[in-house]
Point group: C2
Chain length 108, copies 2
DNA sequence: TATATTTGCAACCAATTAGTTGCGAAATTA
DNA sequence: TAATTTCGCAACTAATTGGTTGCAAATATA
């Protein structure tokens, strides 16, 4: 079963889990309290997030504390890098000019 | 049919489409040449990307040129903002210390 | 006008997904 | 030791997804 980080953050529940765990490590039960679904549903989401290493485990007795792994999340940011120039002000203005030029050309 | 940008970038083909179109506006046929799937499969991906406004259309005769919409992509970057502090060097080191402290405490 | 090209849309199919319920293992508590 | 709690795993279901084929509309070309 192949998982990647982009698929992992595609689900809104999983994004919410990441936000919660980034602030504070939590157990599956503690997490489940924040959502309307069952513990098992949350547990499955945790499994997906753990499989793609966005979360790490830390067993403490019968509890398992899940921690946020920033370095994995950084990979998404890294992929975004290539698009950033498009919305930085200077380049954005240049893009607009080029798009307009293209549009005019297109309409000929 | 609800679509959001996170679901849109979950598919590797759609991510590749975004990379291509960010460099240069293209027609569906031109795009399909870059992939091993059928034109219709690519067309469906384009539809998803257009529905969530990551692409914009520009009709030119019987051709439709698809353009990249940076401002929509920026929304993903905006969501990432809340995690960035976790991997900035200074905070990252602090995080590591806290995680280690927690781990030690956990193992007691 | 007849033909070819570009494209979106609808119907269908196989695979995947998010969710549920039930179970058993491990650790804590009485 | 017995009961409780925390949790992952397996089996099942319903919905969604990515892909296919076929078709019709619109534009361009002969």
């Amino acid at each position: 079963m192949k998982r990647d980080i982009f698929q992992a953050i595609a689900d809104p529940t999983r994004r919410a889990i990441l936000v919660l765990i980034a602030t504070q490590a939590m157990t599956p039960n503690a997490l489940a309290d924040h959502f309307d679904t069952t513990r098992q549903a949350v547990s499955k989401h945790i499994k997906v997030l753990t499989e793609c290493q966005l979360l790490t485990q830390n067993k403490v007795g019968r509890e398992i504390h899940y921690h946020f792994n920033p370095s994995k999340m950084k990979e998404i940011d890294h992929w975004m890098e290539q698009f950033k120039k498009h919305w930085e002000d200077r380049f954005n203005q240049l893009d607009q000019i080029l798009i307009n030029l293209n549009s005019n050309k297109d309409e000929k």
